[in-house]
C-alpha cells in the first residue's frame, strides 16, 4: 500500500433500524476516511449514530439493523459486500474492536489466557504453546505486570481497568491494521482512563495501528485523536484535524458542544446550552436535523439538504449555509 492511500474509506453510508415495513435512518449518508496509523475520533451525543457506524464497519450489525446504501472500503476491498466467511477472516485479524463494558465482552467462564489465545489459534495458525508465549508478551505490553497470574484468572477476578487491558490485549494480539474502540474508557475512573489512553497511544505509535475512537467526551478526543468527525442525528456535521475544530469550530452544533463543557476558564460564566434536545431516531428528520436548534438557521435551512464544503484540506463542514459560513477567518 502506498503511503497516501487510505486504509478505510466510507462512502455515503446509511444504516437504519427496520421495524416491520418501516425504516428509520440512524446513520444518514456519511462519508469519511482514515489513513494508516491515524487516530480518528467520532464524537457525538447518545443516539447520533456513532456506535452504529462502528458496528457497520466491523460487520456486527444486529438483525434489525441494516445498511441501506453506501460502501465501506478497507484496503481497497468493499467489506460490506463480502461473504460472512470473509468477514470472519477480517474481524480480529485486520479489524478488531474494544467496547465500553469490558466485563460484558469477556467470557466469564473462560480463563483469560485461553480467551486471549483464541484469536491467534483462529487466525494465525499458532500452536497452543506458541500462542501462550505471545499472550504473555501482549499482556506485559498492555501493562499487566504479572501475566502468568492474569492468564490463570477468570474475568471477575480482575478490576475494571485490568479487564479493559485484557480486551485491548485481545484486540491487538493479531496486529490488526484498524482498531475500533467504542467508548473504551467511559466505564472507567479518570485516573484509569488516563492510563488506558496512554496505552492506546503507545500501541498506535509502536504498531502503527489506526484507531477509530468513538466517544462522547470531547475532552478525551481533544487530547487523544489526530482528526475528528462530529456527528449529529446520523450525519457528520463537521470534520477536520482536532486542532482546527477546537480552535475554529464552524458548525453551530460543534460550537455549542464545545461551549457546553465546563473547563478551567468557564468558571463563573454560564455554559453555552444548545436549546431543545436531540431528535429521536424514530422522529421524522428534517433535511438538516439540527435546523430547529441552530442559532444561525434561516428559512431555507428547514427545506434544503446540507452541503459538504471543504474549508481547507483539513476541515470540512456539512451545512445548508456552508458558503456563507465558509468565509471564516482562521484564528491561529
Amino acid at each position: 500500500m502506498k503511503p497516501d492511500e487510505k486504509l478505510l474509506q466510507v462512502y455515503n453510508l446509511s444504516v437504519g433500524v427496520q421495524q416491520g415495513d418501516r425504516y428509520f435512518p440512524a446513520v444518514d449518508d456519511i462519508e469519511f476516511s482514515m489513513r494508516e496509523g491515524e487516530i480518528l475520533g467520532l464524537v457525538g451525543e447518545s443516539g447520533c449514530g456513532k456506535s452504529m457506524t462502528a458496528l457497520a464497519i466491523a460487520g456486527l450489525l444486529s438483525d434489525n439493523l441494516r445498511v441501506d446504501s453506501g460502501s465501506i472500503v478497507f484496503e481497497q476491498q468493499d467489506i460490506l459486500h463480502i461473504t460472512e466467511k470473509e468477514k470472519v477472516r477480517l474481524r480480529g485479524k485486520d479489524i478488531s474492536m474494544v467496547f465500553q463494558e469490558p466485563m460484558s465482552s469477556l467470557n466469564p467462564l473462560m480463563k483469560i489466557g485461553k480467551q486471549v489465545a483464541e484469536v491467534l489459534l483462529l487466525h494465525n495458525k499458532r500452536t497452543a504453546k506458541e500462542a501462550a508465549t505471545d499472550v504473555r508478551n501482549v499482556l506485559i505490553k498492555v501493562g499487566l505486570p504479572d501475566p502468568d497470574k492474569v492468564m490463570r484468572s477468570y474475568p471477575h477476578q480482575l478490576s475494571g481497568g485490568m479487564q479493559q487491558r485484557v480486551m485491548i490485549a485481545m484486540a491487538i494480539i493479531a496486529r490488526p491494521k484498524l482498531l475500533i474502540a467504542d467508548e473504551p474508557t467511559t466505564a472507567l475512573d479518570v485516573t484509569m482512563q488516563a492510563q488506558i489512553l496512554d496505552l492506546l497511544t503507545s500501541i498506535n505509535r509502536e504498531y502503527k495501528i489506526a484507531i477509530l475512537f468513538i466517544s462522547h467526551d470531547l475532552g478525551v478526543v481533544s487530547r487523544f485523536c489526530h482528526r475528528m468527525a462530529v456527528m449529529y442525528a446520523g450525519k457528520i456535521v463537521e470534520e477536520g484535524t482536532v486542532y482546527n475544530i477546537f480552535n475554529n469550530p464552524v458548525h453551530e452544533y460543534t460550537k455549542g458542544l464545545i461551549g457546553s463543557i465546563p473547563t478551567a476558564s468557564s468558571r463563573g460564566k454560564p455554559l453555552v446550552s444548545i436549546k431543545g434536545h436531540v431528535p429521536s431516531v424514530f422522529e421524522e428528520h428534517l433535511p438538516c436535523p439540527f435546523a430547529p436548534r441552530c442559532l444561525s438557521a434561516e428559512s431555507r435551512c428547514f427545506t434544503e439538504v446540507p452541503r459538504r464544503i471543504h474549508l481547507n484540506e483539513n476541515h470540512a463542514i456539512n451545512c445548508v449555509l456552508a458558503e456563507k459560513v465558509s468565509e471564516v477567518e482562521y484564528e491561529i
Binding site: 451525543e45 505486570p145 475532552g219 458542544l257 473547563t263 455554559l271 446550552s273
Partner: protein, 318 residues
C-alpha cells in the same frame, strides 16, 4: 464552629460487611467513611470529588439519612437523629444521577411535583397548584408539562423535573449526587446552568457530588477531595484547582482531559509503587513521594493556608 452553617458532619464513619468469598468466610468490616467532617455554610456550593468507591455517595446517603452511620450530623446547628423527622427532610432534599429511575413512570409530571406538598400537607389545593406552576417556571418548563408522562421527556427534561420536585418544599440544602453524569453533554450543560442559577437566585446551599473535577470546579465555592473514605484535601475551589497540594489531587487533575489542552494522560504513573499500608496513608501505595513515615501512620488533615480560606491537606509532604 460557624453559626450560619447549614450542614455540619462530625467524624462520620460508615462500615459495610464484607462477607468475603465463600459461604463460610468470616465477615470483615470494611470502612467506607472514616472521620469525614465537613461544614457547609448557608448559601454555599460545596463539592465532593473522588473516584468510584471513594465513599462520596455514601457520604451523601448519610447526610440524607438513608443509611446507618456513626458520628454526628447537624442541620442548622441541630443534631439530627438517624431517622429523620419530616421537618429535617423538608430542609434537606436530593437529586440523583439517573432521572429516569427517580420518576414514577406511571404518574404524570404534575402528580410527581405535587406529591411532596401532599405528604407535608402544605397549602390548599390552589396554593399547591400555584406552587407547581411557579416551580415549572423556575426550572424552565411550561405548565403543559404537568400532563405529560416521564417517557415523553428527554433525559435533561426529566432531570429538571427531579430538581423541581426537590425544590418544591423550598429546602435549605440540596444534595446533588452526580446529577449530570447520566446526561449528554448539551443536556448536562443546561442542568449545570440551572443549578448555578438556583444556587445564586434562591441562595440555595448545595452539596454537589461528582467524579468530574472540571464540573465541580465550575459550580462550587469549596471542594473536598475524597480518597478511600477520607477527605485528603479540602479548600476553596481555586486552591484545589490551581494549587493542589495532595499528590492524589494532583494525579486526579492531571488525569482529567481538558479541551483547553491539558491533562488526559497518566504519563507512566500507573502501577502501584509499593504494598499498601494498613495503618499508614491511604494513598501510600500509589504516592510518588511517600516516605517511611507515610507507611506507618496516617497523616491528619492540616491547614496549609490558602487564599484567605482554610486549605486542608492530609499529607506529610505538604
Amino acid at each position: 464552629m460557624k453559626s450560619d452553617a447549614i450542614l455540619e458532619t462530625r467524624n462520620l464513619v460508615n462500615f459495610y460487611d464484607d462477607s468475603g468469598l465463600g459461604l463460610f468466610g468470616r465477615s470483615k468490616k470494611k470502612q467506607v467513611l472514616s472521620d469525614v467532617s465537613i461544614t457547609i455554610a448557608h448559601g454555599e456550593a460545596f463539592g465532593i470529588v473522588g473516584e468510584s468507591g471513594c465513599g462520596k455517595s455514601t457520604l451523601s446517603k448519610a447526610v440524607l439519612g438513608l443509611i446507618d452511620y456513626s458520628g454526628e450530623i447537624r442541620v442548622k446547628g441541630q443534631v439530627v437523629s438517624a431517622k429523620r423527622t419530616k421537618s429535617v427532610r423538608k430542609q434537606v432534599q436530593a437529586v440523583f444521577q439517573d432521572p429516569s429511575g427517580a420518576l414514577n413512570s406511571k404518574k404524570r409530571i404534575g402528580w410527581t411535583l405535587l406529591e411532596p406538598l401532599r405528604v407535608h400537607k402544605l397549602g390548599t389545593k390552589d396554593e399547591q397548584n400555584d406552587r407547581v406552576n411557579q416551580i415549572l417556571e423556575l426550572i424552565g418548563l411550561d405548565p403543559s408539562y404537568k400532563s405529560r408522562f416521564p417517557n415523553e421527556l428527554s433525559g435533561g427534561q426529566k432531570q429538571r423535573i427531579c430538581i423541581g420536585a426537590s425544590l418544591i418544599l423550598d429546602p435549605e440544602l440540596l444534595v446533588a449526587d452526580e446529577p449530570v453524569s447520566a446526561l449528554d453533554v448539551s443536556a448536562g450543560a443546561q442542568i449545570l446552568n440551572l443549578l448555578d442559577e438556583l444556587h445564586r437566585k434562591l441562595n440555595l446551599s448545595l452539596l454537589f457530588i461528582s467524579h468530574n473535577l472540571n464540573v465541580v470546579y465550575y459550580l462550587c465555592d469549596r471542594i473536598a477531595v475524597m480518597y478511600k473514605g477520607q477527605i485528603v484535601e479540602q479548600g476553596s475551589s481555586d486552591d484545589i484547582y490551581r494549587n493542589a497540594r495532595h499528590p492524589y489531587t494532583q494525579a486526579l487533575l492531571a488525569a482529567v482531559p481538558d479541551i483547553d489542552g491539558t491533562g488526559g494522560f497518566a504519563d507512566g504513573n500507573a502501577a502501584a509503587l509499593r504494598e499498601p499500608s494498613e495503618h499508614g496513608c491511604a494513598y501510600y501505595a500509589l504516592c510518588p513521594n511517600a516516605s517511611e513515615t507515610c507507611g506507618e501512620r496516617n497523616p491528619d488533615l492540616a491547614d496549609v493556608g490558602g487564599d484567605g480560606d482554610e486549605h486542608l491537606v492530609r499529607c506529610y509532604g505538604s
